[in-house]
Symmetry: C2
Subunit: 144 residues, 2 copies
Amino acid sequence: MKVSTKGRYALQMMLDLAIYNTGEPISLKDIAKRQDISEKYLEQIISILNKAGYVRSIRGPQGGYFLSKSPQEYTVGMILRQTEGDLAPVACVGTENPGCEKIEECVTVKIWQKINDAVNDVIDNITLADLVEWQEEKANNYSI
Amino acid sequence: MKVSTKGRYALQMMLDLAIYNTGEPISLKDIAKRQDISEKYLEQIISILNKAGYVRSIRGPQGGYFLSKSPQEYTVGMILRQTEGDLAPVACVGTENPGCEKIEECVTVKIWQKINDAVNDVIDNITLADLVEWQEEKANNYSI
DNA sequence: ATAATTCATAGGAATGTGGTAGGAAATAAA
DNA sequence: TTTATTTCCTACCACATTCCTATGAATTAT
């Protein structure tokens, strides 16, 4: 019942891109350094976000990545689903696998459905902009 | 972000014990047959529940298992936590591992905390008695 | 005694996780 | 035009976890 590093790193990258956005592209090298994560591993993860159209890339020296849209247009759910896939606690209540043949007689499915709804309610109601705001609040608290 | 078969089977077994309770011990063989799960695998799982004191066992012919307490005294959370461990989406918000060293500066932890709370709210407010009730409702609907 | 059951432990195939490695392609800067 | 920097692509791999199977011992009703 864990979110893997893939999803967590994806979130951290998107947040990094949102926070350090200056109009110039941000290189993976910088992100990897700031977030203290293997650059090579981040390559693979951001490639998913790139193909999903969540970031734009520029190659060559001084190249790097941007967010395609503004932070409030990305929910945590969007980012996690791209990288983690469905967050359903069991396959049968997810959108990816069509559910099992015992679905009608199965009682526990009601539990999984409730968990699924609760999780989705959380992740679909937090945007990248919220994270940026929280980050800034933390920064302020530290400087006081 | 999945609940493994261990936790799901544990839940099904506890539910089976609750539903088919007649005062006589219920053998794993019967449960395995009804739930269509490998008996040998169920042995390992129920051993956890046994050590936790959630079921009582009787060895030998006509032996088997009982629930130690009445169904409304078990929450889904109790059962899942015994078998799955912590259901926290990341280790740092769980009760098992003490959290990482970046916890103070980390923003995403707020997300994981909210997910954790939401999941716990669901699983700690459903009892085995609820599942039994749902099961009976389903049975009635089918017979109509 | 016998047979049915739980209990304990070992093993193992398949899959997923969390990366590393190597190099090709693009491109800005020298 | 060369060089260095960056993204892009694919392959590989070690380790852990999951989901069992197998073997046999211990217990006990019949």
